[in-house]
């Protein structure tokens, strides 16, 4: 079953729940909800203390993973995305689930950078998986019961103040 609590409002919401080291968020699959969801997420107790560099990295990886689901798994059709973050030993353990289409071949794209052949042939896309792979660790994908599960770890160094 999709979620154990009802989906949140248009922009999604981040809920600290009972565990201060865990945050779960459910958002509709559209780019504006991704933006608002990330904003809510980085405002939670869990993520508020992230050092600037770690925060930037986490935001890049999460945005790429979520927008990839919006664009490809759901192909801009409606759907829900569920994101669970856990703080564990200075790492952020991230799990993202959706019920969109499976990855082609049920494997993750290799994320090779597009080849730059000349100024007229500059690539305008194809960067997303390269960024996710470059900035995350323990990246795993599996397809189970019509759901996509993506998991990875990020550094979660805290800011001094």
């Amino acid at each position: 079953m999709p979620v154990d609590q009802p989906g949140s409002g248009a922009g999604g919401s981040a809920e600290p729940g009972n565990d201060p080291d865990c945050t779960r968020i459910v958002i509709p699959a559209d780019p504006t909800a991704v933006r608002e969801g990330l904003r809510a997420l980085f405002d939670t107790l869990l993520l508020r203390g992230l050092a600037a560099a770690e925060r930037g990295t986490a935001e890049i990886v999460l945005a790429e993973a979520l927008n990839n689901i919006v664009e490809h798994a759901y192909a801009r059709n409606s759907g829900k995305i569920e994101l669970t973050l856990q703080l564990h030993c200075a790492e952020l353990v991230c799990q993202i689930e959706d019920q969109g289409e499976a990855m082609p071949g049920e494997v993750l794209p290799r994320g090779r950078l597009p080849v730059i052949t000349g100024p007229d042939a500059l690539p305008e896309g194809g960067f997303g998986w390269h960024l996710i792979r470059a900035l995350s660790r323990d990246l795993h994908y599996r397809r189970i019961d019509g759901r996509n599960q993506l998991s990875f770890r990020l550094d979660a160094g805290q800011s001094g103040g």
Binding site: A52, A63, L122
Partner: protein, 111 residues
């Protein structure tokens, strides 16, 4: 997507006023830029110093703008913030664009 354009002779300085260019705003950014760069300035500087976050869609839009003003004009970027610089570096787009740390003194936008 608010963009402020300031034409100084041969130079067009465009300042992105939003703090993010992401998947939700990339198309709007590209469309606004398409209008703005119709000015026949020889150099186009895009000031990104207020943009804290740019994702791969935002990057793709910046690349698209570079292509649509060319080939005789180049898009130069100004003031990449740390997370934006990281995206350019990791995708090696920092080797494609001329990137200035800040706007030269005297060219700074009043607003």
């Amino acid at each position: 997507m608010e963009l402020v354009a300031d034409c100084q002779g041969d130079l067009l300085i465009v300042t992105a006023m939003e703090n993010r260019i992401d998947a939700a705003g990339a198309i709007q950014f590209k469309d606004r830029m398409r209008e703005i760069v119709k000015v026949p300035a020889r150099r186009v500087l895009l000031d990104l110093s207020r943009v804290a976050f740019l994702d791969s869609s935002g990057l793709g839009a910046v690349v698209a703008v570079m292509k649509l003003i060319g080939p005789e004009r180049k898009l130069e970027l100004v003031g990449l913030t740390p997370t934006v610089a990281k995206v350019f570096r990791l995708t090696r787009m920092d080797t494609i664009f001329t990137i200035h740390p800040a706007l030269p003194e005297g060219l700074r936008h009043a607003g």
